[in-house]
Symmetry: C2
Subunit: 447 residues, 2 copies
């Protein structure tokens, strides 16, 4: 058996994760709407033998324009739609997985099943679906609602949604299509399975009008932090994106999610947990810090306040260098409490708080030499906190290229990372099995 190695993904939306990304001197300012830019990013990740490129998504702008003027000072406003962009990028890549986000709250399972199956065919087995339930009211307002549905309702619908999608992916057995010109038989009708799903949220007949996909079924990715989120991940996910700052928190999350898998008949290795990691390498620690500071110095206070407002509401009425007040309009977001705790613990001013989240937005951040970053990864990887990492470049493409050029070779030198892709599908590279007929289907929702 080959040694267990670190899996790597990259968040490749727009111009990167940092609030000031587009103002970086070397960033293409129009990168969030440039196909050339997206090609350069995914090709850098593939050069780095990454398992997957990941496109976060919202069905609407997800950055509050509070205080007014915040939104027009960020690049977190426009972007390509993920499934169309990844279909295009499939044509200029060969091995890297292509993971798009799609919401279970504002979609229909038939569309989602079909589009991801189509991407899997187009890419030769490299598609993944990041399942999200869409937390913001801004998205809800684009879909006939004033506010996002309640938490339980969203997760209830999500569980049934995923089950329907998996059922639809099982419409056709692997060898259903015989296409015998002589007899005129195109497919074997005993190998077509009609779903006829009927549940509290969905009535979906099927079958899917696309053949079984090269991976059997696209990879399912989840990022839930809550109890329901973990349960859904344990039941259905192949990959989980997590957000943890400390080894202990990451270990607790890892144990919690993997511990729930047995009751769904799953082995812990069937799911890869990949915490977010903002890695900023430099030849020296000082160089790395200097690289980070370029961006930190470019954070417009309005944008910083805007970022905070996404969690705590608008704090612009308070002195920016004064203490963080009890938030006037705290939002329904799992990170709101975490950020407040940090502010209290470290006695941060409003400015210090927004600068502390300007980069990783609550994700672990490591600024240092390639060895420092490899150490940080290795520690979590070897101590049941991570199977890999979802790299969050502060800016693109440079922030990713630095990781590819500096950190990847260090990981390879340590035998922690592949030196060539193991296979041509995302499942092969992740080391998880082809989704055989019947295996991808319906799993019971959490009791």
């Amino acid at each position: 058996m080959p040694a267990r190695t670190i899996k790597l993904g990259v968040s490749m939306i727009g111009l990167g994760y940092h609030l000031a990304n587009w103002r970086h001197p070397d960033a293409p300012a129009n990168g969030n709407m440039s196909l050339q830019h997206a090609m350069r990013v995914i090709q850098a990740a593939e050069r780095g033998l990454f398992d997957m490129g990941f496109l976060a998504d919202g069905v609407g702008i997800r950055f509050h324009d509070e205080p007014k003027g915040a939104l027009c000072r960020t690049a977190k406003n426009v972007q390509f739609e993920p499934l169309t962009l990844l279909s295009a990028l499939a044509m200029v890549t060969r091995n890297i997985g292509l993971v798009a986000t799609a919401s279970t709250t504002y979609n229909e399972p038939y569309h989602v099943a079909r589009k991801f199956a189509s991407l899997d065919h187009i890419s030769g087995g490299r598609a993944g679906w990041n399942v999200v339930t869409s937390v913001t009211d801004m998205e809800a307002r684009n879909f006939n609602r004033d506010a996002a549905p309640g938490y339980d309702l969203r997760y209830d619908r999500a569980a049934e949604f995923v089950a329907v999608v998996r059922g639809l992916w099982d419409s056709w057995e692997d060898d259903a299509f015989v296409r015998d010109k002589v007899s005129g038989i195109n497919y074997d009708p005993t190998k077509l399975h009609v779903l006829n799903h009927s549940g509290p949220h969905f009535k979906v007949a099927g079958p899917l009008n696309i053949a079984r996909t090269p991976q059997g079924a696209p990879v399912i990715v989840q990022a839930g932090a809550s109890d329901q989120g973990r349960e859904l991940a344990a039941a259905t996910a192949d990959v989980v994106y997590a957000a943890a700052q400390t080894l202990e928190a990451a270990q607790a999350y890892y144990a919690s999610v993997k511990g729930r898998m047995a009751k769904y008949g799953r082995h812990p290795d069937e799911l890869k947990i990949m915490p977010g990691l903002m890695a900023i390498p430099g030849r020296t620690r000082q160089e790395a810090q200097d690289r980070y500071d370029i961006l930190q110095e470019l954070v417009d206070p309005l944008v910083g306040l805007g970022a905070l407002s996404n969690y705590l509401g608008d704090l612009s009425a308070y002195p920016i260098d004064g203490p963080v007040p009890e938030p006037p309009n705290r939002r329904m977001h799992s990170r709101a409490g975490i950020f407040l705790d940090i502010a209290r613990r470290d006695n941060l001013s409003i400015r210090q708080l927004y600068l502390s989240i300007a980069g990783g937005n609550g994700h672990r951040t490591v600024i240092g030499t390639p060895a420092d970053i490899a150490d940080a990864m290795e520690e979590w990887f070897h101590h049941e906190a991570a199977d890999g990492f979802n790299i969050l470049p502060p800016w693109l493409p440079g922030g990713l290229e630095d990781v590819v050029d500096m950190v990847v070779p260090e990981l390879q030198r340590r035998g922690l990372y592949r030196t060539a892709y193991e296979g041509s599908t995302l499942r092969e590279n992740l080391g998880i099995p082809y989704a055989a007929f019947g295996k991808a289907a319906y799993r019971p929702a959490a009791e």
Copy 2:
């Protein structure tokens, strides 16, 4: 002003239009799920300087399995999802327009606006949306319903849906994004327009989270035959796909749709009417007929009955060489009456009726020399029956390559067709203007 020239599109779904397409000796039997095949098709169309490749679509299988065994003998069962496929094909083409079908009955306008805008960006201004309302109950059953909503409801929703999509495409003015790294201003907030639509079917706030597209707005295509369909086309379409067998019928349709445009403040030239045309060229008429007969002889009777069942219900209980009976289960489809009339008029047997629709499925069919086909086009083009044609190849890729290699040069020789693309966007090639801000927006629905 350059001479008016014929516009050409091609229906490029799967293996072509003929019922026996996949059994053609030279057809790749797996073509409906082969990316290589789709690339060969679109590249042939681009070699032929076609305005656009068009992907028909259903959100479900749209071919009844009646009598049982019909569906598994056709290739009209599985296909790529259009928006993902066209995004991929955008990467291997430069000039040809890319038109995908999307249903207004089973989608949300925000998703549709976004995905087509994204395709327009990816392709550098070559996206088009074929607006359909989805007539079959088979599709309805994949979306929480037992049957398609009634006609009026579908068209009412469609009119509002298109208005919302156009409104969303106007979220950002052309020059909204200034992206000034020095001042930190990414876009000019006075050039962002929030839709805040609220109507009987939709409540959609906007703005769209993607920039104004290279064409200002993707091209809108329509194919409605009914009164409501024509009204929607006159109000909103840039291109109309029509189905007519005779010059008189085509002229009547042409006059009817163009005649409705003035009340929406539109000039008749702003809309291109492109009837479907199955063109089968041969060096001689006999060769052309022989080419067609290869396919006709491969129509399995079950598949022929299946095709009829889509309009008239299952006729398998009647003698196949006997007269067409009063249909036991006639479906809600505008072509059902037309086919019945033809059967009565020409005294056709069931077999003769299905063979008569096995190719063009009710569309005009011309089998002959390149000059015959060019004559047929020229007649309609010069007599207010057509601005161009939507070529329906009986099989792919050969049926299209024959048109490109034989008919296109004949049209060019006559000065009826371009010898090079006029521009790089679909609008430029169609000769319709860029959709400037404010122009794409909200048109009133038909009174």
